[in-house]
Each structure stands twice: as C-alpha cells, then as structure tokens.
C-alpha cells in the first residue's frame, strides 16, 4: 500500500515536470499528429504512386491504350520519354519503371508475330520493383488481350482464381502506415522520455535526494514508468481517434480500448528499457547514441516496415523475442482484423514479461549508477 502511494505521488511529480517543458510537449504532439499523417501518405510496403516513363516508338492505338492503362493509385500517369534518355533517367532514379514500346508493335501484334516490349525496372527500389513489375506485366497483357478481343474472342478459362483480401479489401497502405507510425512514435518517445528522465534527475542531483528518502529504487522507476507511459498513452488514444480515424479516415475494425491496453503493456516495456539505458549512460550524448543503437533495430526490424517473414532465419528467430514485433503483430490483429483478447493474450503476456526483465535489470543498475556519479 505504501509502495503504491509512493509510486503514485512520485509519478504526479513526473507529470508536473513534463507538462512544464513545452519543447518536449510540442515534440510529442508533432510525433502523434504530423508525423503520423506524413507516414500514412508514404507507402513502405506496396506499389503506390510508382513513377513510370514510356518510350512510345509505335504511336499506335494499342500503345496509347497501354499508356493509359497505368492508373493511380498504383502508378503515376506515365510520362513520355525519349529512347536515348532511358539510361540517364534510370541512373538518376527519376523513374522506377520505363516501358519501351518498339516501332510497329501494334502491327506485329495483329500479325501474330508476338513482338516483345521492354520494361526497364530499377531493381534498387526493392519493394516497388518486384511487385510493380508483376503488376505492369499484367496490365500490359490485359490491355493487349482487350485490344485483340475487339476482333477475336477468347473463351473464359476453365478454372478461375478469385482472390479476396480480408480485413483490408483494397490493400490500402494508409491504414497500415498510420498505425505503424503510431508504433514508431510510441517506441521512440517512451525510450527517450524515460531515459532522459533518469539522466536529468541524476544531472540535477535530485536522484541522490530521492534515494535517501524512504522510497525504493523500484518505486522511483515505477513512478517514471507510469507517468511517462500515461502521457504517451493519452497521446496514442487521441491520435487513434482524431488523427487515424478522424483526419485519415481509416476504418478501425477492432476495439481501440483493447489496443490501448496492449499499448500500455508495451509502454511498460519501452519505458523500462529507457530507464535501463538511463542508468547505463553516463551523459546525455551517450544516451543519445545508446538510444539509436536500441531504437533503430527495434523499429526497423519489428515487422512494421518490412515483413518479418522476409528476414533471414536466424534474425527472424531473434526478432521473435522482440516485444516490438509482438506489439506490431497484436496491433495488426486488433485494429485490422478485429481480433479479441482471446487471440492476442499471448502477445500481451510476452510483452509484459519482457518489460519485467528490463525493469529488474534497471533495478540492478540503479545503485551502481549512483556510485558511478562520483
């Protein structure tokens, strides 16, 4: 009971100091509004808005059809390009795809000569290149088919494959990215806020003061965890309702309260990491570097930016222990697939457990940290 009260009262102090710091407040607001919107507008995992150039040496009806078949949202409207510019334009990364339609293409198609057209793909744009090439090929084939069927009819194939995409029928990325943006912000802010709270307290000498009072390091750490988590949790909730649902019009299938409950568990883990890093770093510059070393892998390898399945086996195995990956996985389950508690509780338990591990590590470092101040 006294522990609980101590944690509560110490936490109110954390909240008060946070609310006084307008710079931090401003950055938190930015992270949960503009940063989310910016991320929802960029697509990391699919073909959206791919840039296409077209060299039309045929100038026929068919080549015109093909050019017009590249439509948003997958592709930008193709821009006409000269044949001699293909290489420099590709080199400059101006276009990801350049389609080259040879002279007399339409004539050769109609004559059944099976001419070839060339699709140049910038294969350094990994995600767009692979998928986009498949799409482009399909678009071109369909268009040629359609052109021919004006005169000739093709019987429907015997077996038809109907693909239905569940939960996100148009496979839109704005949905995906906005929520992944929230995840990134949560991870970043929780680590920095909690870590800086420890380093700041130490630099201002108030840590000593706390440690000679009848409060335990556990209570000090827990107070920082709940106060900083609460701030971020509120920001997350507001962001879900007003930014993701309101501004970005993303339909959320599942229960936001359940997602927030999961976020709270994840925050417990990330703030615990922050506190641990705060006890390891001796100065703010060191904290900054430590933060990058921990945050970047946590974020880039969580599955929010590239799929976990595509990682090499050894790394995928390691990342299975990353609470960030669990967080991404249960967030997707709840928000897109409408999964309930019975589906995600294992992830919840794992994240909570990881938080406890780092809390214990941070506790072990706490007193040594005070000694190291000298």
């Amino acid at each position: 009971m006294t522990t609980f009260l101590n944690i509560f009262w110490l936490g109110t102090k954390e909240l008060r100091s946070f609310l006084r710091d307008y710079t931090l407040l401003g950055l938190v607001i930015y992270s949960f509004s503009f940063a989310i919107i910016a991320q929802s507008q960029s697509s990391t995992q699919e073909v959206v808005n791919a840039s296409v150039g077209i060299v039309d040496e045929d100038h026929s009806q068919l080549s015109g059809h093909i050019a017009r078949a590249f439509l948003p949202p997958y592709f930008q409207t193709p821009e006409p390009v000269q044949e001699r510019d293909i290489v420099p334009l590709m080199n400059a990364g101006r276009y990801t795809f350049i389609l080259d339609i040879p002279p007399y293409f339409e004539r050769d198609v109609l004559a059944g000569r099976r001419p070839a057209l060339q699709l140049n793909v910038d294969a350094t744009a990994m995600i767009q290149a692979g998928l986009g090439a498949t799409y482009a090929t399909q678009i071109i084939s369909t268009e040629i088919e359609r052109f021919i069927t004006q005169t000739d009819t093709v019987p429907a194939p015997l077996i038809n494959l109907v693909v239905r995409i569940a939960f996100n029928p148009n496979a839109q990325t704005a949905w995906f990215n906005s929520v992944m943006g929230i995840l990134n912000s949560i991870t970043m802010l929780a680590i920095v806020l909690a870590g800086a709270a420890v380093v700041r307290e130490r630099e201002h000498g108030t840590m000593d003061h706390l440690l000679v009072m009848p409060v335990t390091p556990f209570e000090i750490a827990m107070s920082k965890i709940w106060a900083n988590s609460l701030v971020i949790l509120i920001a997350t909730g507001l962001s879900c309702y007003f930014v993701v649902r309101g501004v970005l019009q993303v339909p959320i299938a599942g229960s936001i309260p359940l997602f927030l409950f999961g976020s709270a568990l994840y925050l417990y883990f990330t703030t615990a990491i922050g506190i641990y890093l705060g006890t390891v770093a001796r100065s703010m510059p060191q904290l900054g570097l430590l933060f990058l070393l921990v945050f970047l892998p946590l974020m880039l390898l969580s599955g929010s930016n590239t799929p976990l399945e595509s990682m090499p086996d050894w790394l995928a195995k390691i990342m299975r222990f990353s609470p960030a990956a669990h967080f991404v996985s249960f967030s997707q389950a709840i928000l897109y697939r409408g999964a309930g508690f019975e589906v995600v509780w294992r992830d919840f338990v794992f994240v909570a457990f990881a938080g406890a591990v780092f809390l214990v590590l941070a506790m072990l470092r706490f007193r040594r940290m005070v000694a190291a101040v000298q």
Binding site: L10, T12, S17, R20, F34, I37, S43, T44, V48, N49, S51, N91, A92, G93, Y95, G112, A116, L119, N120, D122, A123, T124, A125, M126, I127, Q128, A129, I140, L158, I159, L161, I165, A166, F167, P169, A171, A196, T206, M213, P214, R282, M284, P285, Q286, G288, L289, L292, L301, T306, P307, E309, S310, M311, P312, A333, R337, G338, V343, A371, Q374
Partner: protein, 908 residues
Amino acid sequence: MTGGTIAALREVTQRYGKAVALDRVTLDIPNGCIVGLIGPDGVGKSSLLSIVAGARRVQQGKATVLGGDIADKAHRVAIYPQVAYMPQGLGKNLYPDLSIRENIEYFGRLFGQGKAERDARIADLLASTGLTPFADRPAKKLSGGMKQKLGLCCALIHDPDLLILDEPTTGVDPLSRRQFWDLIDRIKARRPNISVLVATAYMEEAQRFDFLVAMNDGKVVATGTPEALKHQSGTATIEEAFIALLPEADRSGRVALTIPPRPNLDGGEPVIVARDLTCRFGDFTAVDHVSFKIERGEIFGFLGSNGCGKTTTMKMLTGLLPPTEGEALLFGQPLEAGDLQARMRVGYMSQAFSLYTELTVRQNLDLHARLFHLKPADARARIADLIARFGLEEHVDQRAEDLPLGIRQRLSLAVAIVHRPEMLILDEPTSGVDPVARDRFWELLIGLSRNEGVTIFVSTHFMNEAERCDRISLMHSGRVLATDTPAGLVARRGAASLEEAFIAYLEEATKAQTTQEVDVVAPPPPVAHAAPARGFSLLRLTACTIRETLELLRDPIRLGFALFGTAFLLLVFGFGISTDVNELKFAVLDHDRSHESRAYLEEVRGSAYFVEKPPLADYAEMDRRLASGEIDCAIEIPPGFGRNIARGRPTEVAAWLDGARPFVAQTIRGYLQGMHLLYLADPAVAMNPSAEKAPARVEVRLKYNQNFESVYAMVPSTMSMMLALFPAILMALAIVREKELGSITNLYVTPVTRLEFLLGKQVPYIGLALVNFFILFLMALFVFQVPLKGSFLTLLLATVIYVTATTGYGMLISAFASTQIAALFGTAILTVLPATMFSGMLVPVSSLTGLGRVLGRLFPMSYYLPVSLGAFTKGLGFADLGTNLLILTLFVPVLWSLSLMLLRKQER
C-alpha cells in the same frame, strides 16, 4: 595610466523575465586597482560583471569599458584581447577532460598566439602558480584550489588590462584562498597597470581590496575604500558594515546569533559512529579512514574545501554509497542500503538542490510529507507550522525555481525536516547564500538542535559557520586532520582564529606536496597586443577543432558507440532487412478432396515461397486463423471441383488473404496468380485446349541488380542512414552541452567568432563520420560482397559533403536548443523519420506525396542515397550524379547560415 575609470555604467537596467537583476545602476570603476564587488547572492553582481566583460547584452542604459561603448560590436572586438573574464562557478569555463596545459593552450590559440609565444607564456604562468608538476593532469581531477589557479592562468594567457573574476574563491579551502590572493597581489606587482574587478561572497576578503562596491537588490548601496565604508557605518568589520548599509527592511529579524549551551542530554550511545570509513573510486581514494562519533543533539561540522571528501563521507552515512572499507553505525545499528526504517529518522539536504524546482513551495512540502507517510491531518498541521516558522508564507504558491537562493535554502531545510527526523545531514547548505540569510538559516538549525534535540551533521567551507558548531572536523584530501571544539582547535595550534588554525593544519598536512610557487624574476613576456585577426582566423578555428577532438578522444565510450554501433547496425540491417517475401503460411479448405484438387494444390505446395499449415475444417476456423495471423492465406477448393473439370464445366477456386499487411497480401496475390497460370498452362493438366499463346511478350529487364538481391540495395541505403543519424546526433549535443555546462562563456568573451567556433567544432565530427564511412565501406566490400561498380572518388566527395550537411543538421538543432534533452529529443524526432521513411530507403523518393515528400526533400539523405546506390550498384560516376552533389552542396551554406543566425555571440 592609473587614475580615471576603466569602466563606467550609466542607468543600466537588466531584467530576466519578471526578475530585475540590475536596477538603473550608475557606477564608475576606477582604473588600475583591485575593485571588489560585495553583496549577497542574486543581487546582480554577476550580471554587472558579465556586462562589463561583454558577455551579456546591455538591455537598457549605457556601459563604457576601456573607453568605448560595450554595446558597440566593433569596440567589443577591439577590446577582447584586453579583457579576461572568469565566470562564476569553479572551473566553469574550463574543459574537464583536457589537461592543464591543453586548457591554457586552447585559450592561447584563441588569442592568436603562435607556438613559441604560447609555450613561453604557459611555462611562465605554470611556474608562477605552482602548477608545473601537474601540467598533464585533466582539469576534472584537480582540487578546487588548483582549478581556480588554472582558471586564472587561462584568463592571464593574453596579458589582459582588465581582469574580471566572478567569485573566484567560493568553495575553496582557506589555504588555497590565501594563496590565490597572494598570487593576484604578485601579478598586480608585476603589472601595476592591470585592473582587477572581483566579486566575492567572503566579506573577510573584501578587506584586501583597494575599492569596494556594495550591492543589494540590483542597486549599488555604497562605494569607497574598505576604510571609508567601515568609517561610514561606524563598524569594525566589512561584514558588519555591509549589514549596516542595508535598508532597514532587509535587516529585520537580524539578531546577534547566540548559541545556548548544549544541555547535557546524556543520551548514552552516539547517534552516528564512523569507523575507518574509506571510499575508493578506482585508484583514487576519496575518503581515507575517517572516524568520528556524533552525540545526540550535537551540531557537528565538517570543514574543508570542495572535493576533500565531505560529500562522499556524507553519502556513505546516508547509505547512498557503500563504503569500500570500514563501517558506519546509525542509532547504534549498522547502516544497510535499502533500510527504509532508518531513513524515516534521517533528514538529508544534498549540496545540489534537493528540490524539484518546477514544483511550488507547497507542492514540494506536500510531496515529501506524502513520501514520508504523514497522516493527512498531521501533514497539514506540520506543513502549516513549517511555513510559518520558516517565513515562507508569501512564497507558498511560487515555484521553487523562482525563489531567491536564501528562501530556497530555507525551503530545502523545511522539506528535509517535514517528517521530524532525529538526525539531519546537511551538505554545504549555505553555499552561495548571503550573510543575513545564512544567519537566519543557522537560527533555525540551532533551534532544532537545542529545542528539539535533533542531531545535526553539517558541512561547510565558511569559517564563521564552523565556529557555531559544537565540534568540527577539519578535512583535507579525504582525511580528517583534527577534530575538536572550535575553541579547542584554535587553542591547540595557538592560533589567533579558526582560519589561522585550519591553515596551520593544512600547511602541516600538505608540506610534503607543497606547490612551489616561484616568483618569476624574469620580466613578463613582451606585451604584444597585436590586434586580433579581424574576420576569419584559421588559427582560432583550429583551436576549437583541437579542443573538440581531444574531448571526443577522451570519451572512448562515445567514440566506440559511434564507430562500432554503426558497424553493428549495418550488419543487422544489411542481412536483416530484406524484401523477399517467403515462408508464407497457407492452409487449405478442400471441400472436394479429389485427385484434381490435390493436383491443383500441388502447385502451391511445391512452391518455395509457401509453407503449409494443417488444413481447415470450415469457414469459422478459417476466419479465426486468419484473424490471429496464424496463416497468411487460405485456399478454398469448392465441392465438385474435380467432377467439373472432368466435364469441362467452369469452376472457381477462392483464395483468402490477410490484408493487414498490404505488401504481403499483394505479393501473395501475385504468386498465386502466377501459379494458377502455370497450372493452366501445364500440358499434363491438358484441360484447357483453347489455351493459346500470348499475343505479345513483356521482357522485364531488372536493371542494376539482376538477381534482385536485397543486399545490393540495403547496404548502400543503410550506410546512408547511418551517416545521417549518427553524425547528426553526435553534433547535436556539442554546442548545447557547452551552453548547459557554462563553457559557452568563452565564445562570448574571446575573439573567436561564431563561424570559427561552429566550423571548428564541426570538423572533428566530420572526421569521425569519415572514419565511420571507411569502416562501413570496407564492410560493404568484404563482408557483404557488394562490389563498387562506379566511381570511388565521386562517392568519397559526396560523402564528405554529405556528412558536412548531416553534422550541420545537428549543429542547427544544437544552436537552437537550450537543453541537452531538447536537442537529443529534437534530433531523434527530426532525423529518424525522414531518414527511414522519406529519403528513399524503403520507398523511392519519386513515389512520395504530401508531407512526407516535403520532409524528404528537406533532408540531405534524399540526395545522398542516389549517389551511394549509384556508385555501388548502378556503376555511375560524377557525370551522372552531378545534380545530386550540387543539391547536397547547397545544404551546407544554408545550414551554416541558419546556425549562425541562431547562435548568439552575447548572452541575453
């Protein structure tokens, strides 16, 4: 040129927010003598000194220094070489990681001295201050007295005409203090023309000065020689004279402090017992076999200089630090870390403020009452009592950071005793507090001791406070020199005063290591006041570079993180981030279970991309397993599939994909459609007789990366990201750190220009980033086997420009931010997102829209990534990448200009 004034202030007013630091001050400071500024803390002494030094902007009024208006920039530049300024706070403008020699060299370079002149001057200064044997010791390992001498050396390196010292002796032991003033006297003797302007909190020192300026509450109360001041007020000492000069209101409540004798409590066992307490940090012994006993109700003092081990001893007694050797007993019990019961009986006031400055007086008291579990009713009464007793009524709702120092000190004490402890441990509670406030504070302490029987263990460096203790221990270099009543100590040494006695003990203790201060007989080096190079000076820039480089090299942890951290991340991302989608989990809902359905599914099962999970029984199971993410895809074969095919009737296969990850869903769709076509075209199936050849072929040419391997794209991309984030975050703390720690003052008062300062500091980080680049480059070649197909020189040139731009990004944030936290936070938020999302690492820049596009365009990585990819994977050279290089280059002057605009050459 003695006679006349060296500086004159007319109606100078200075405000910080609502607080008025200087209130229409008009003052003439005589030339060629030692002028002392005396007065309590926070009355505007420091503001006045920093204005005269040119470090702070004059808000209102006019200040003339050395014959010109200090607000005039040209005049300031002209007089930098004639003025030296040592700001308040021991060694605050020094660089703790640099050695004594390196610190002085830095200042010498700033003033444009060549090596020969510098060396001669340094040798002279070190010899005359007795620092020669310690020339290679880092400043952070110096004692208070040595730091202060080093500060003086740095100030004197350029032979100034006006030496401004802000509380140079605060917190220094009396012997060092005496030596310091002797040193000043010798300097004065050697250079009679030098004017010294000094602020001090020790009234007894004021006696030595030629001319005094007494200040109170932002105003000058009196000026004159010490004799004149004493005569004017009819008092015997300067301290009394000063108090007599104060307005009536400020003197109220001042009574001659009397200490009632300690009642013989006969408390039996002592409250605190220390036996051979020893504390070592590495090979440094901070506290060396300290033993003492403190009885109930006693006021026990620790007297000693900064860094002599007082604080460490106190920390051991509070359980904050475990002793290396020896033991401490509190209330007869061995001290155990984490013993919460014992803590309830102890109150502690640490040297740094033990207050939350962002909370109000009442909030601070409330918080502590709650942490000590006072019952609400009891807490209310107790807090009301403390507020009344400590005179905090009018400040109850003010935030602690807005309180004057003296009031803050009282609040600290109130907070420390809110739970009625039996024992108080106070670490230099009155440091920096004016005499009146100190007396009030001691009244409270004496009341606690005599009326409530509270045992008080207090450390101080003020002699008159030590005299008020029942017993004191003299401490020096971690050892207790002597313990007795103040009168007893004086008697034992046969000295005239406690200070004399302490000095006698100190001299005895330090005899072995006495610093030999040589009065250099040789004439001072020729005073060559060569006007400082106006405009840009490479020498001063180099000075900043050398210093920053040394500091960077002295922090191996930071260096290690920066170099090996990036290497580690490149390994992880280079191998880890891959866009090849495989191991897709699928399950089958086969209503048909015929030969044909198995043949169809064989296409999927045989694929390297798919992994089969146990089959599905019904739609409910399909929904559940898709929702839980257990499978990515379900394939449903309708009833009668085989029969329909056999009879040539059209039929449909359905595939259900998890759309939560659009990229994966789209990839699966592509794979399935491909397999479907393969199945249809398979001659073995031969059930599609009309299948005709496609009318045209699409030749897909994967340029640059024929095998479509992630590593060729990921490694150059990750390198770009590392070289954006790490240099930026390293640089971001470089300037703001100086702002927070105080050494930024050197920018304000030396001839170094802002441009030299910024560029000089940037160079080492550019160098570090280039080392980093070479490590990453070699890893790309040999670990990842990514060959460099294009021009190395182009890549190198682009990298140099790029890291200049990314460090410039950090520099801009650093120039803008006022605290390290804000800088760290800001850099993280403003660089990580553009670097990972909007610079082409995962999404081509040409596909970005909206806000992301803007953020990406404003970030240098957008222009370096194509160069890195181009040089590695596309085999490009300068001709192809020229545009990107040009845009990258544009970032540099823009970032420099913005940083220059945000960095001020004077404090507001």
